[in-house]
Symmetry: C2
Subunit: 200 residues, 2 copies
């Protein structure tokens, strides 16, 4: 198995994942957008998300900006932006906002740029870098500072049905998908099968 074949196979075997465009700004004021597919929910209280970064990849600009400024944005886009989302993985010499004509959006008292057309915008404050020494990757841990989404995707219990926004999902290094809801289920107890719940 050659290295490229192996990389494609192993990456796709990790399954479907949220496509996330990470927005940052350098301490010289140069903005950056890079696609990640390694968003991790670490906990709700405090609200912590992780991202995996390889020091040797395109995402090194993102990592450096986060470490230097302490703030970054997560942007989920709809499926009609699949090609632009993928294109942020190219090694541009200029800001991806400029190269790809992405409009910036700034939220009050928040340093890092959001993507105006993103359907979900999450502002994160850097908390910790965790070294994964076994293969030289790092986990960037951040706490949620703010969330900007349309109210009408929020269900009665706080659940957000992102499928209403036609959010882009990825698999492997270059494949993109949309999602369709099947069902929600009640909290599972050993006495009986959990009943189906509506998305409302």
């Amino acid at each position: 198995m050659d290295a490229s074949y192996r990389r494609s196979m192993i990456n796709s075997l990790a399954g479907f994942r949220q496509a996330v465009l990470v927005g940052t700004i350098s301490d010289q004021g140069v903005t950056n957008v890079a696609i990640f597919n390694s968003l991790i929910h670490l906990g709700a209280n405090p609200p912590l998300f992780g991202l995996i970064s390889r020091p040797d990849s395109v995402s090194r600009d993102t990592l450096r900006n986060i470490l230097n400024t302490g703030y970054y944005t997560l942007n989920f886009v709809s499926t009609d932006m699949a090609q632009i989302a993928h294109q942020t993985s190219a090694r541009y010499d200029v800001s991806e906002f400029e190269a790809l004509k992405l409009q910036q959006f700034y939220s009050e008292n928040f340093l890092a740029p959001f993507i105006q057309d993103a359907v979900v915008k999450i502002g994160l404050k850097f908390e910790e870098k965790l070294d994964i020494t076994i293969n030289g990757t790092v986990m960037i841990i951040g706490s949620i500072d703010r969330i900007i989404v349309h109210d009408d995707i929020i269900c009665n219990d706080g659940f957000m049905d992102l499928s209403r926004l036609n959010v882009l999902v990825s698999c492997g290094l270059d494949a993109y998908y949309s999602v369709n809801p099947i069902s929600r289920f009640a909290y599972a107890k050993p006495t009986h099968m959990a009943t189906k719940l509506d998305f409302n």
Copy 2:
């Protein structure tokens, strides 16, 4: 915001994720299945996957079994098993294989049980437990020992199109989705927009 509302919201904000049933066996021979949605691709060479576990959750049996035996399985199921997949999150006193009438599958020279009906079966060897001290969670890191999938989902370049298997995807704590392919794209270069590729 009460704790339950907040938990639902933050969990769903982490986006769409692969639903994974983790199969383990205790050193007394009691099997276990638990659903996770925190599968992380850490690297292709060596092929390493991570899983996030909370010591206080149902998944504590899974964590203990992995630490004691050194082996575990990742099982992706199709959407018609959504309810059973969710139901593995109940706190059963007996094996979920027994309680939910899931058939076990054992691969030669591999200790941990697979789910017979899983459409993707990955056997992992435990490598390392990483403490995420900021909130008391742990990352279980394992290397891929074996992969059991149908050949016909493997594309020419090694990419596996899991959507052909109608693989179950989750969001938040209790919502399940299916996926539809949009496109693959060529490796992105700054000189031009990446072209669309077929899934073959």
